[in-house]
Symmetry: none
Subunit: 215 residues, 4 copies
């Protein structure tokens, strides 16, 4: 996943080349932000990662703020996609929720995961800040919806959907705080453990208890 990211010197249609480079800028930004934090990352740092000079960045991006926004969005989009994909299925609310968790873990361990949860929307102006908050809210609502669906179809026990969504999202969003690319469990294993906890809880399961689908 790391590797060289500078597509300067690349071929394709003008349009395509430009797009590739812009993506590379965003990705480099995401990595730098993750490594040093947004405020401790200067545009020079990012430019250096791309073997380019600072003003060049402005050819692809309007401002540092926009970089952050795009990083946010890249991360949030993955989650949102995960959510809507899960919803298209016909499985029970619980099964759909589990599916979302799996995709969520996958997404949040990516390069953009850090930005998604650690970057502060304080750093975005009111305009972009509002858009990000909107995206975050949609994901939140989606999770609550799934919980409610589960309660409705009997696959989830009685609970407070809002708090459950907060607890679940919190556990997932916290991953970038401790996840290390090379030193942590693979995303799928993390997801397994999380599903286990959230589905069955910590209380010991008694004989003949729920035939959960824990892997």
């Amino acid at each position: 996943m790391p590797g060289p990211i500078s597509p300067w010197r690349v071929t394709g249609t003008r349009e395509r080349r430009r797009e590739l480079k812009r993506d590379a800028v965003i990705l480099a930004a995401a990595r730098a932000f993750r490594a040093r934090g947004y405020h401790h990352t200067s545009l020079d740092d990012i430019a250096a990662l791309l073997h380019v000079t600072k003003p060049t960045l402005y050819y692809y991006v309007a401002s540092k703020e926009e970089m952050l926004f795009e990083c946010f969005r890249a991360g949030l989009d993955r989650i949102a996609t995960a959510c809507s994909k899960a919803r298209r299925g016909t499985a029970s609310g619980r099964e759909q929720l589990i599916e979302v968790v799996r995709s969520y873990v996958e997404a949040i361990t990516s390069d953009f995961g850090w930005c998604m949860v650690r970057a502060e929307d304080q750093d975005l102006g009111p305009e972009l800040g509002a858009r990000i908050r909107q995206l975050k809210s949609e994901i939140d609502q989606e999770i609550r919806r799934l919980v409610r669906a589960g309660i409705a179809d009997g696959s989830i026990g009685d609970c407070d959907p809002k708090m459950v969504a907060f607890a679940l999202a919190g556990a997932l969003n916290w991953i970038p705080h401790w996840y290390r690319d090379n030193a942590s469990l693979p995303a799928s294993a993390i997801a397994d453990r999380f599903v286990e906890v959230f589905v069955h809880g910590l209380a010991p399961r008694r004989e003949g208890a729920l035939p959960g689908k824990s892997s």
Copy 2:
């Protein structure tokens, strides 16, 4: 909890007054950081909150970094206290863990909660940064220990203590992201819901299942 915080013009022994003022500086910093973010808070902002001039802050604190450190510490100390208090009991691992969760929620919804989890230790020099990381690690270890104790005494089912600790801490640490002093459930209620989820999971409980302590 908010209210006036400036103890300028207050009485008491010199020692005591100085201590009060220093605490007020830290608290004002914590609130400002929570409201605007660390990097968007200037010392002038904090000074203004206290109706004092900037250099006065330096009379009580060595640097902006030290302010952040003290905020960190104020929050972490509460959690650490909660942990060690819980451990002193003779209850089962699970009961102790639940107790920690309750105190944790109480602590993290305080003014210092935000700093504790959102402030980046990137902003601390190597010296102070290391100390914070140490404190955080201790809390993490403590939680894992309780999980293991619960597994050992049978009050907690088989699980991966490390991942469980991450999930639990994540859910708890995420609280400052959504908690609003006046608009959210009271801390005790949040704790109840969280305990419910983490102890019993989302799967519907079968008749006559665990006699949990759900409220």
Copy 3:
């Protein structure tokens, strides 16, 4: 020697232009330091001299300290060059020493003379401070060497080379304290007088020795 020093708006290769501008920054700093003293000179002052804004200075120089260092070095280099040039000759030790004095006076009446002797190496960090002290020491050693050479070849009478070097260097280094570009003797005349004093002393020269009324 004063004259306009801002090469902003000048031509040449990019490399060359940059070099010229950096030199201009150093020179402007030297003049400002000489006029107002290091600590009373703000970067704004220097920037104003160059009709440039403050951050521009940082494009050419890393810090105010570096400016001072370069001023130091510019002056010391001239002296060092004078010393080594003199030594290459085959003249007697005394003649070489006299040659050094002439070049020394020339150098120390330059714009950088003041920095060389009046700026305190206290103002340089340990790193740069050490380098400056090293350069100063080399010049000192060089002068002592010439004195010793003179004693050896008989062109200089018996004396304490170290103290002679101190006396000589002191007289020369003091020049910036009283020298005024427009109001003092030209450098060569100053050198003549100094050579006269140091070579023959104050005692009247006469056929058959002085009827000194030595105590």
Copy 4:
């Protein structure tokens, strides 16, 4: 000469006690300035040397500037005294000049020597700055006068009194740059060497020449 300098806790008439303390403040300042440089010495530093707090200093001295002024003056006074003392004698100009040199060396190796020559009158306001410049000028004039007297009475050869005064003062004033209390020759020995150089010059003395008082 170093030793403890704080006379707080001392007896005597009120007047006398105050005077002693003021002197101690000036001396502490002189030492601090010599050790760290004027601009790198804070009033806290000086107060600490005296085991006193900063505002206390203001009870004895009007400002940091005044401290510097008094240090200047303390040094210059010693020189001036040396000059006028020498002049009272009936010896030849040369002998009087030699006497001045001896006293000068004695004075300039004192704690105040550094301030006298290294402190910049830039740091004094126009008022005090002018007074210092006046004092310095008087000493300069005095030396020139002695040189002229020597020329007149035949004890000094033909020369440019102004340049000779500059050379001589330079050599003497430079002493604080290299003099170390514990590691250099004693003042009297330094004076001997300097007198030797300035009286007889570096040129080897011819047979039967001056029966100088070389050590």
